[in-house]
């Protein structure tokens, strides 16, 4: 329902914590906030290459989680429309300029018999 808004056009940047990689801002394609234990995946594909979930973290309103932690996070949520930070590590520094950023979100929605979520893909220019 909000697939086309998953990948935010602003805020794509290199990491600033000394590691190689970047940060892309993402929104959940759903009309309500959802507890993080029901966020099953936020899969990133950068320039056609999947980034392993183990090399990504999700930050919502200042709280960062690895995807191995999310299934047990019962007391924090990704709010509706909230711009979360999907940070990722890469072997080499990101090249300046445009990148192809694809994100697939998978949500466990209790009233749906199949996984919820959605996917989006945009060309983003690295800030800075």
């Amino acid at each position: 329902m909000f697939d086309q808004y998953i990948v935010c056009e602003e805020g794509f940047r290199a990491r600033d914590d000394g590691r190689t990689g970047g940060v892309v801002e993402v929104r959940m394609p759903y009309y309500r906030g959802l507890g993080l234990s029901m966020v099953e995946a936020v899969d990133l594909t950068l320039d056609g290459v999947p980034v392993p979930a183990a090399r990504t973290t999700l930050t919502v309103h200042g709280n960062s989680y690895g995807f191995d932690q999310l299934p047990t996070v019962l007391h924090d949520r990704w709010e509706m429309g909230e711009r979360a930070q999907l940070a990722f590590e890469t072997d080499a520094p990101l090249a300046p300029g445009e990148h192809d950023v694809a994100v697939a979100v998978r949500l466990r929605i209790s009233y749906m018999p199949v996984p919820g979520g959605g996917r989006d893909r945009k060309r983003l220019t690295l800030a800075g």
């Binding site: 029901m38 509706m80 466990r108």
Partner: protein, 330 residues
């Protein structure tokens, strides 16, 4: 125009596009509803209240302040039941009832006396939560949402609980999406823009509009070499239903709130798919005295190609309601 006590309201679900994109704040949405004389507010706390399920005293005070400022009334909250909260097990019955009780507490703090129980709420959870809702002066209303209808086994199980317990806290909340008489063209047009083959779209729309058998549409799309878009559209066709609005009449004593779902208000002032001109008189005939609460759901079908103006769409629906209810627009 027969005498009636039907009131107009808006579910803030209607403004989801603008709230998602932060072009309308929560206060903006309440003001917009008040501006069109839709003074009953239905809120989805999980959508509109950051920090849910904790509601700060400050938020609650601000909420009540808005109600006073804009002359609006909190009518209903919408609960969800996350039975799949845990990855490895379902919530137990006790945990499900506790979840509903939590949401009853939230409704009370927001001063709403109706809670929408989502369609996946099991009958035994309704029964388990009813005494708590009753003790707190809240009605727990099961949404009757497409593809369900009043003869469906799932609804019949709920009706059995409601009639057996006779709990004044339990009832129904019909979603007008159960009265989709013809296929929403915003949905079929979107499929065409997404590359669906026109002859397959026509086949789905015609089958639906003829009120034909939609059960096998997904299979037929497969037989006709349709792809994901055509199969997806066929699935949509099985999720809309048309039933006679008069099917609500026998259940009127249980009906406490109406979710006035809509997909497209036309330039001529009608809903393209849902015949409110024939639905509202049924509610008047049945003595319904609650709110018609707008639920605009067209945004997701047009956002790829057109600007979304949910406020204008809701305004048009309320112009229609005003005409059908015989009351002056504010």
């Amino acid at each position: 125009m027969a005498e009636h006590q039907i009131k107009r309201g808006v579910s803030l679900y209607s403004f989801q596009e603008e709230y998602f994109l932060r072009t309308l704040s929560l206060e903006d949405q309440i003001r917009a509803a008040a501006d069109m004389g839709a003074r009953g507010i239905e809120i989805i706390p999980e959508q509109s209240v950051p920090g849910f399920p904790q509601l700060t005293d400050e938020f609650v005070a601000t909420w009540h302040g808005w109600m006073e400022t804009y002359g609006t009334t909190p009518v209903a909250t919408d609960l969800f039941l996350d039975t799949k909260l845990h990855a490895d097990r379902w919530l137990t019955l006790a945990e499900q009832v506790a979840s509903v009780r939590r949401d009853v507490d939230i409704a009370v703090r927001l001063d709403a006396r109706i809670v929408r129980a989502i369609i996946n709420t099991p009958p035994e959870v309704m029964e388990g939560a009813a005494p708590y809702a009753e003790a707190h002066g809240v009605r727990l209303l099961l949404e009757v949402h497409a593809p369900f209808h009043y003869e469906h086994p799932w609804i019949l199980e709920h009706l059995e609980v409601m009639h057996r317990t006779g709990s004044p806290a339990l009832g129904l909340m019909p979603d007008m999406g159960t009265f989709v008489e013809r296929f929403p063209r915003v949905v079929s047009d979107r499929a065409l823009r997404d590359g669906a083959r026109p002859e397959l779209v026509d086949y789905i729309v015609k089958t639906y509009d003829d009120h034909g058998d939609t059960h096998a549409l997904m299979d037929i799309m497969n037989y006709r070499h349709g792809g994901p878009v055509e199969v997806g559209l066929a699935r949509q066709a099985t999720h809309y239903i048309w039933t006679d609005p008069r099917s609500m009449l026998p259940h009127m004593p249980l009906i406490g709130h109406i979710q006035a779902k809509f997909y497209e208000m036309t330039d001529e002032g009608s809903e393209y798919s849902i015949p409110y001109e024939r639905i509202v008189p049924v509610l008047v005939e049945g003595g319904y005295d609650g709110y018609l609460s707008s639920e605009y759901e067209g945004n997701r079908h047009i956002q790829d190609a057109f600007p979304v103006d949910s406020v204008e769409q809701v305004r048009r629906q309320h112009a229609l309601f005003t005409r059908l209810l015989g009351t002056e627009s504010v």
